[in-house]
């Protein structure tokens, strides 16, 4: 299996180096980093140099690397690397170079149990606890990175994030479980306003500090139809060629369709079978492991709703001058306030200057024109765009190039040429990218209806939170023709 595991920072310094099989030269970390530097943007996550395979993930400006001489499964390697980084995060509270350096003895202890001779062993945070004896050292009050931890600190300011502290407090802390329903939305809108793509991927993430080893029952909004394998009997294979997505809607028009989902190990085969295709109650019974885990992942590929409506208009008044109007409307209840909304607008390389004006009456908005040798762009950030509001940015862009009069020596051709040239430049404006994060908001309207502890009257303390982020929200500006 895997021969070595190492962590490098983005300058190539070794932070952790663990050799499991001793069949690869110890300078493999140098070879790895030199190759990374030489390849720049054409790099792929795995490569082979001199019969040694390097597989790596990049997280927080650090490289987590496996080396091996064998024909391994890359999915196993990447999942395991992700898990390793997660465990390190669980134990050191944050996945930063400083935290890893500070706790490197603890991490060596973990790595020793994680794999033996390159074969993965135990990777659950709770079982590892029995084998690790070095207490974690917290780094000095730095903002912790995990969403849940942020949430924790906002709920209970004194609560410490690291596992060890939690252990020592174990007698005092109650039965607690933290639940995050995170959705990430991908929207692609063509320049004419047509929505090309609108998808949601979501997950239910949990962090459990429950005592004992209870079975929990989680209920989700019943109006959602989860298409899981239990629904797909052999007969449903035959219907494959028909349009799947409309079929269930015919049965029950109020149901939202979730195209596919997958469950964590602890949830067994998923939803509790209530015995019917249409009589599904969306209940999951599971036995939560300690620490971070993702109970459910799902995907909705035919979403209709968009939290923001973006309109653009691009006009060219003169040969080298363009006017771009970007209008954003927030399409949700005014109780919801996004953490931030930021808009990036790439401009042509030949941009000479760019003037902007915002709608009056809105503070908390900033517009910045960033110029580098290779790219120009506008960054527009809107701090508080609560629901039901609308804001507009007007840009007037002047590009480098001939001005109209000097160019008009060929009168017949001029009109025509103006359009052609402009169209090339126009293509360099946009596409507009929107990034946002909205707390207490579920884009698909999926909700957690209840969480019960089976066989017990005491309900655990639950902290439930919803969040919707942008994965890729893109509006194109200019047309193709």
């Amino acid at each position: 299996m895997f021969s070595q595991f190492f962590i490098l920072n983005n300058k190539g310094d070794t932070i952790i180096f663990k050799d499991y099989r001793f069949d690869i030269p110890k300078d493999s970390n140098d070879t790895f980093f030199k190759y990374i530097l030489s390849m720049k943007s054409d790099i792929t996550p795995s490569f082979n140099i001199n019969d040694i395979n390097y597989l790596y993930i990049k997280k927080r400006e650090m490289y987590f690397v496996f080396t091996t001489r064998q024909l391994v499964s890359p999915s196993l390697a990447f999942e395991l690397l992700n898990r390793a980084s997660k465990i390190i995060q669980d134990y050191t509270a944050s996945l930063t170079e400083e935290a890893i350096r500070l706790n490197f003895i603890l991490i060596y202890e973990l790595l020793d149990e994680l794999m033996d001779y390159g074969v993965p062993q135990s990777t659950s945070t709770e079982t590892l606890k029995a084998f690790v004896f070095t207490p974690p050292k917290p780094i000095k009050s730095k903002e912790s990175e995990s969403i849940i931890d942020n949430f924790l600190s906002s709920v209970k300011p004194i609560h410490s994030n690291s596992i060890e502290n939690n252990n020592s407090n174990n007698n005092n802390t109650e039965n607690e479980i933290y639940i995050d329903l995170c959705e990430r939305i991908t929207i692609l809108i063509a320049s004419n306003g047509q929505v090309l793509r609108n998808e949601i991927i979501g997950k239910i993430q949990m962090k459990s500090y429950l005592k004992g080893n209870p079975v929990l029952s989680l209920g989700l909004s019943p109006e959602f139809l989860f298409k899981t394998n239990s629904n797909r009997t052999a007969s449903s294979f035959e219907n494959e060629n028909e349009n799947e997505t409309t079929q269930p809607n015919l049965d029950n028009p109020n149901r939202f369709v979730i195209d596919d989902c997958s469950f964590h190990e602890c949830a067994g085969s998923g939803f509790v079978d209530n015995g019917g295709y249409n009589n599904q109650n969306n209940i999951i019974n599971f036995r939560p492991p300690q620490g971070d885990f993702t109970l459910l992942k799902y995907r909705i590929s035919h979403n209709e709703y968009s939290p923001f409506l973006v309109k653009t208009n691009l006009e060219s008044t003169q040969k080298n001058k363009f006017d771009l109007v970007v209008n954003i409307r927030s399409n949700f209840s005014n109780k919801v306030v996004p953490n931030f909304v930021s808009v990036s607008i790439p401009l042509p390389k030949s941009t000479k200057s760019c003037q902007h004006s915002l709608d009056y009456g809105y503070q908390n908005q900033t517009v910045e024109f960033k110029q580098t040798p290779n790219s120009n762009s506008i960054f527009w950030s809107i701090k508080k765009l609560r629901g039901g509001m609308e804001t507009t940015l007007r840009l007037s862009i002047i590009v480098d190039g001939p001005t109209s009069p000097t160019h008009s020596n060929n009168v017949n051709n001029n009109n025509n040429s103006n359009n052609i040239e402009n169209s090339t430049i126009k293509k360099e404006i946009g596409p507009i990218g929107l990034e946002f994060s909205m707390p207490q908001f579920s884009c698909s309207t999926l909700q957690i209806k209840f969480l019960r502890m089976l066989g017990s009257n005491v309900s655990p303390t639950r902290w439930i939170r919803y969040i919707t982020d942008s994965k890729s929200f893109v509006k194109r500006v200019s047309t193709n023709s």
Binding site: D13, I15, F17, D19, K26, D27, N29, D30, D42, P45, D51, I57, L71, V72, S73, S75, L76, E79, L81, R101, F104, I105, Y108, E109, D116, Y117, V119, P120, Q121, S122, S124, F133, T186, L188, L196, I201, N229, F237, D259, S262, G268, T294, K297, Y298, R299, S301, V399, P402, N409, N416, S417, I420, E421, S423, T424, E428, K471, V474, R476, N480
Partner: protein
């Protein structure tokens, strides 16, 4: 290898000095000095005397930190093992970590640790037993074999599952350490027995151990049933290992296979991509002969695959899934037709995902029958043309390929016209337009040269498939294109198009003339050949205008200073022209206007079947079967033996050397040894003497050559041994003696030091080639650098010198004689 390690250490020390300036406050991140090791040694022994566990821990932490960053702290080995007897478990772990890391460099001292380890193997705490056992088997030295065999034998039946699972992998380690002395007859049956263990991790480690010791072993049906019944107890990684073995298992009949698949069905929607992909592999293997069911399997897996790709937390996992989707499309091309939108690039996707997505989109569009979908994909791809240039290239290729794949349907759906008008022509039009103006420089901002180049290159392939469009394209091929810096392939495409239909573009002869006059000399040969062919083709159509130019072109191309290929072709052309212009025309225009239907590259994908067999392995990511990039066991074994053989020879020569020193009575052997040495050096001296004119006169070394440790190391690793020989010294020679002589002549010392009673010296030199234009090898064989490793065994006083250089000939005839003659100043014995 030894050289590499040593130099590497020197380099890391330097690195660390740089890092220290970042101001880490913790003591063990502070600046490292050479005296640090001595200090650590002292502190450690103080702490041991004081029995202060915390202090010991702290010092060990520092040592491990130095080890991590690649600094050589092996000198502390004797001190560290003394601490191993501590009862503190963290100290034990640190000590074992250290010992395992340096076991290779201190095989003799290992014996001192064995007792501690064996005592820990009987500790009451299973964690300590496991730790000791794991470390014992990881010691990379044959000295421990005997002890390890005994301990493992005892602990295979330990009552703690943790110890049992460690013992099993220990067996795998011992097997690799020395396959010959491994007791197969005893251990193999007990491993098989332990597959029936209660502890799931023990079961999996038994399977893993068998994978290592008996690669290719397979399950029996009973075993499959046993494992399936316990399947949910295994963690996800163990499931992957079992699934992997299961994919090698061949069900005895169809029913049995389907039964297993039924049990695995829910693994297909597991959130761990490794589990899902391993399961898919089994589904595909077991249904290989059952076409109908396999169709269902494809339908069944497509949604989970897309979910995994979209919903994975890391790009690397998405990339793996995407690669597998691309592979599956080679078997079932229409599988993802409906899902094309899932493969649109996101603006924050890394480049490796974007280019792969374009490939997937290309495949989908090529196998798509819905016109609207093809149209949408082409539109989407055209958006990518404005992005990074490698994506632009990929997208342009994809669009051209889609046009070519749908040639058959061109009546129903004129995609060719569509693509031509929407993609290719707009870029060409801009070039004409800007040239209408006065200056050229003003317009550069308007033209995206990357897109222009790739569209020109792809246009050639497009027109080879659809020659009828030449008439539409050529009006836009004007001399204004020549003002841009285009890659050679784009220029080739321009010339080719002009030659195909010389009459469409009025200016054709003048474009050729301009190109010939202004750009000919900088062009690579294949462009020159294309120019020649094109101008002839034009000449046949429009002789009047071309005649004055063609003469110049042929004369220039026939010039002897041109590349032989070009020269030959132009001679051939001028001969057939002289013979018969008609026939010449039919020969040169033979391939004209014969549209091709497909490109060769598309049809042969010989590897795909082989890669399919290696589903869910690296082969899929590399798009190569494993044969190409994984070394077989035998090859690795052979290499290992070679190294061992070399070491033995080395040891042999040392022992001989010892005899020479200690045993003056027994001189016969040694005489032989030294005579061989002498004859070696004598022959070299003969060379020197016989060719005095070659020697010092023409061969000069740079006085102050520069070579960084990094360069030295990479050179050392990349070069093969040039020449080596041994000299038996009478007395120990200090580096300063050698260095003083060598540095005068430009042979400089890079590093030196003493490890394990061996003094190692590294020298380098660079040939001064300014005065020596006749050195024919210089250009072809790289820089004329010479690097030398000298190892002096301090006990036997045997000096081994190893030379390496990219220029072997110069090394042998020039450099080695010079080096030896210099070395003979401190060591006169060389020339005895």
């Amino acid at each position: 290898m030894k050289a590499g390690n040593n130099v590497g250490n020197i380099v890391t020390i330097n690195n660390n000095n740089n890092n220290a300036s970042q101001g880490k406050k913790e003591s063990y991140f502070s600046e490292i000095k050479k005296s640090e090791i001595g200090l650590l040694k002292m502190n450690l022994s103080n702490a041991v005397n004081e029995r202060d566990a915390e202090k010991i821990k702290e010092i060990l932490q520092r040592i491990i930190y130095f080890m991590t960053i690649g600094m050589d702290v092996s000198a502390l080995f004797p001190d560290v093992i003394m601490v191993g007897s501590s009862n503190n478990i963290v100290i034990k772990k640190l000590v074992y970590l250290y010992i395992v890391h340096y076991s290779k460099s201190n095989p003799d001292l290992l014996l001192l640790v064995i007792n501690t380890i064996r005592r820990d193997c009987t500790d009451r705490n299973p964690i300590i037993r496991g730790l000791a056992l794991r470390s014992l088997c990881s010691l990379d030295s044959e000295t421990i074999l005997e002890y390890a065999n005994v301990e493992i034998g005892k602990h295979l039946t330990d009552f703690s599952g943790y110890v049992r699972k460690t013992a099993l992998l220990g067996l795998a380690k011992l097997y690799h350490l020395s396959p010959k002395s491994f007791d197969l007859d005893t251990f193999i049956p007990s491993i098989y027995g332990m597959i029936m263990d209660q502890d799931p991790q023990v079961i999996v480690n038994a399977i893993s151990a068998l994978n290592e010791i008996r690669p290719g072993w397979t399950f029996t049906f009973d075993l499959v049933q046993h494992l399936m019944s316990k399947f949910k107890e295994f963690n996800e990684w163990s499931q992957c290992i079992i699934l992997d073995c299961l994919s090698r298992y061949k069900p005895s009949n169809e029913e049995e296979g389907l039964e297993i698949l039924n049990l695995l069905d829910d693994r297909l929607s597991h959130s761990n991509s490794a589990v899902t992909l391993s399961t898919i592999k089994i589904f595909l293997k077991y249904t290989d002969d059952l076409e109908e069911i396999q169709e269902q399997v494809y339908e069944r897996i497509k949604e989970p695959l897309i979910t995994l790709m979209e919903n994975s937390e890391s790009n690397e996992t998405s990339y793996t899934i995407l690669n597998h989707i691309y592979l599956l499309m080679s078997r079932s091309p229409k599988l993802f037709n409906k899902y094309y939108k899932q493969f649109y690039c996101k603006y924050n996707d890394p480049m490796y995902i974007k280019t792969l997505k374009v490939k997937v989109l290309q495949e989908i569009a090529a196998n798509q029958t819905y016109i609207e979908a093809i149209d949408e994909i082409v539109t989407e791809l055209s958006e990518y043309l404005h992005e990074d240039h490698s994506l632009c290239k990929q997208a342009m290729n994809a669009i051209t390929d889609i046009a070519q794949k749908h040639k058959k349907n061109q009546e129903k759906y004129p995609i060719d016209k569509h693509i031509l008008e929407r993609i290719f022509l707009p870029f060409l039009k801009t070039t004409i337009d800007t040239s209408g103006g006065d200056g050229v420089g003003d317009h550069s901002g308007f033209i995206n040269e990357t897109i222009l180049s790739y569209s020109l290159i792809c246009l050639k392939d497009f027109l080879r498939v659809y020659p009828k469009h030449l008439n539409n394209v050529l009006p836009y091929i004007t001399s204004s294109l020549l003002q841009y810096t285009l890659p050679p392939q784009a220029n080739e495409s321009i010339l080719w198009m002009l030659g195909e239909e010389p009459n469409v573009q009025e200016d054709t002869p003048y474009i050729i003339e301009e190109f010939f006059k202004d750009h000919f000399d900088q062009q690579p040969t294949f462009i020159k050949i294309q120019l020649l062919t094109t101008s002839l083709k034009v000449f046949f159509e429009r002789p009047g205008e071309m005649l004055p130019i063609i003469r110049d072109i042929i004369t220039k191309c026939s010039n002897l200073s041109q590349d032989p290929d070009l020269h030959e072709i132009s001679l051939f052309y001028s001969r057939i022209l002289l013979l018969d212009v008609e026939k010449a025309s039919s020969i040169i225009n033979a391939s004209k206007n014969q549209p091709i239907n497909s490109f060769l590259e598309d049809e042969t994908n010989e590897y795909r079947d082989k890669i399919f067999d290696e589903f869910n392995t690296l082969s899929v990511l590399y798009c190569k079967p494993s044969l190409i990039f994984i070394k077989s066991k035998e090859e690795v074994e052979n290499e290992k033996n070679q190294i061992i053989e070399n070491q033995k020879n080395y040891l042999l020569s040392i022992t001989n050397g010892n005899n020479n020193n200690n045993n003056n009575n027994n001189n016969n052997n040694n005489n032989q040894q030294s005579t061989t040495n002498n004859s070696d050096s004598k022959s070299i001296i003969k060379q020197i003497e016989s060719s005095p004119s070659n020697l010092i006169d023409t061969f000069m070394l740079e006085q102050r050559p520069e070579l960084s440790p990094d360069e030295f190391q990479s050179l050392w690793l990349s070069l093969e041994d040039g020449h080596n020989f041994d000299i038996q010294l009478d007395r120990f020679i200090d580096n300063s003696e050698i260095e003083s002589v060598m540095s005068k002549e430009g042979i400089l010392c890079l590093a030196f030091g003493s490890v394990n009673d061996q003094t190692k010296l590294y020298y380098y030199a660079r040939q001064n080639i300014v005065d020596d234009p006749l050195q024919e090898q210089n250009q072809t064989n790289g820089t004329p650098v010479f690097i030398i490793e000298i190892i002096i065994d301090e006990k036997s006083l045997l000096m081994s010198i190893l030379f390496k250089s990219p220029l072997l000939k110069t090394l042998h005839t020039k450099f080695i004689p010079k080096f030896l003659s210099l070395l003979s100043i401190p060591i006169p014995k060389i020339f005895n």
